[in-house]
């Protein structure tokens, strides 16, 4: 290991996103606590706003870029990479950053809007997903060094969802992502082959068009079930909610009976790092997450 890598400070601006202030608080809690154990400092971005994701883009794209850009401008001031765990926020911020960087006309318009509210953005910020930060910046050696309760015997399927690899493929393969599989294997778990890893969970359609959304989520659950996985691991709050919230009903619809626990990768990681149920908000889950971890004897 070179001196530079040893000295590299793991400090980032942290963007929780709206969903982590609501139904997915457990993702926020487990992220902050797991990061602390890994020696990663996440400084919450001061006065962050909505990233401008999917539902906003459908009404006005320029404004959605401006929403993202306000966050990017705040992160630029802080001088740190902007890290989020929500895949929706990640893609919205990343895409805005990329498009603003590539299109001078758009950049001029966005900066003009930011200035109207007393901010500016020169374009010197990197947007990162926390999953990729753990895998690439913390890295295999350091993660393994911090594991105190290896997830031995835990058969998992890693469900990456759409918006980590797609559309750009800059941090992982667009169709066969494996960031989480690598991480979970470092933690001692057994990641299974999972062909549904980057298939769509239905996103917001679970609410707006449940007849379509439930089929898509159902296909993911059924595949996990057929592989006799002990748990599904997620990296997106919307995937998590879709897979856990109406699981029984969806399983009936697609003809399986799994009652499978669904947890954020930060909860699985935190468990291996020796954190307890409270520090990871495991009890928040609507599926038997604590039960399966206890049964495998890995919960502190």
């Amino acid at each position: 290991m070179t001196e530079a890598t040893v000295k590299k400070k793991l400090v980032y601006s942290y963007f929780p996103g709206c969903s982590l202030e609501g139904t997915n608080e457990a993702y926020d809690v487990s992220t902050r606590n797991a990061a602390r154990v890994l020696g990663v400092e996440l400084r919450e971005l001061e006065d962050w706003n909505c990233c401008g994701a999917t539902a906003y883009v459908a009404v006005n794209e320029k404004k959605s870029f401006v929403l993202s850009a306000r966050n990017l401008a705040l992160a630029e001031k802080a001088g740190l990479d902007l890290v989020t765990v929500c895949s929706g926020c990640y893609l919205a911020l990343y895409k805005a950053n990329k498009y603003i960087g590539r299109n001078p006309k758009l950049r001029a318009e966005v900066r003009n809007a930011l200035r109207a509210g007393g901010l500016d953005f020169a374009g010197n910020v990197r947007v990162r997903h926390f999953l990729e930060v753990v895998v690439n910046d913390v890295g295999e050696d350091a993660v393994k060094r911090h594991v105190v309760r290896p997830l031995q015997g835990l058969r998992v399927v890693c469900y990456h969802g759409c918006q980590i690899g797609r559309p750009f493929g800059d941090i992982d393969d667009p169709e066969k992502p494996n960031l989480m599989d690598r991480l979970l294997s470092w933690l001692g778990a057994e990641p299974l082959d999972f062909p549904m890893s980057s298939k769509c969970c239905g996103g917001l359609m679970m609410t707006t068009h449940p007849e379509v959304g439930m089929k898509l989520t159902g296909a993911v659950l059924k595949c996990a079930c057929r592989r006799k996985a002990d748990a599904i691991i997620t990296a997106c709050p919307l995937c998590q909610v879709n897979l856990e919230s109406r699981q029984e009903e969806i399983c009936r619809l697609v003809g399986c009976d799994c009652g499978i626990p669904v947890m954020y990768f930060t909860q699985a990681m935190g468990t291996a790092l020796g954190l307890g149920s409270k520090e990871l908000s495991l009890g928040d889950s609507l599926t038997p997450v604590e039960e399966v971890l206890s049964a495998k004897g890995v919960l502190s």
């Binding site: 909505c50 401008g52 320029k62 509210g117 559309p167 068009h209």
Partner: protein, 192 residues
């Protein structure tokens, strides 16, 4: 009322202008109608027209039919069509453009659930600078189908028991600045 040929032509022109402003958007002209997008789309089965047919309709002067169909609003932004398109068309962005044009011109069936949700979402951000989940869900079911909202009560109770429902909405401190930024975009758009 069906659109006249002239109206459809103007609509297609405006649509293409916006698509060309998307990075790689001009590639829409290189579509070879192979159908990879439709074969990849997870929602295609439920769509009245498949993604491929959108470009076919554009070329045939029938773009207005796409707005009347359920197709556009069933795109969940999974980007599979985009990464697989052999012509390199950013098709998910094209779908977004159709949604936006539909919202702008009021060209979608009344009560289209995703369109209703999108508008409530935008309103929340204008008010608070952030999305307010509970407000979004409550208003969404009130404006679309209150009966279905009643069907969500058991799930709501489960989430409530886990203390996962947050009712208060925190306004960001810089809300005034944020509103000025959004107003600047509106001004710029009005000048065009």
């Amino acid at each position: 009322m069906p659109m006249s040929a002239t109206e459809v032509r103007d609509l297609s022109k405006e649509f293409l202008e916006h698509v060309y402003a998307i990075p790689e958007g001009e590639k829409i002209n290189q579509c070879i109608q192979c159908g990879t997008c439709s074969a990849s789309c997870p929602s295609a089965e439920a769509m009245e027209y498949g993604p491929r047919e959108i470009i076919a309709a554009l070329r045939a002067g029938m773009l207005d039919r796409m707005f009347e169909s359920n197709t556009v609003w069933l795109c969940a932004s999974c980007y599979l069509c985009t990464v697989r398109c052999p012509a390199g068309i950013p098709f998910t962005d094209v779908m977004y453009e159709l949604k936006r044009l539909g919202v702008k011109k009021g060209l979608y069936a009344k009560g289209t659930p995703n369109a209703v949700m999108a508008r409530i979402f935008v309103d929340s951000v204008q008010r608070y600078g952030r999305n307010a989940e509970m407000r979004l869900i409550r208003l969404f079911f009130m404006k679309t189908n209150p009966l279905k909202g009643v069907g969500m009560v058991p799930l709501g109770l489960k989430l409530l028991k886990k203390k996962r429902l947050k009712f208060g909405v925190k306004k960001i401190k810089g809300i005034e600045g944020l509103r000025k930024m959004l107003a600047a975009v509106e001004e710029e758009e009005a000048q065009r």
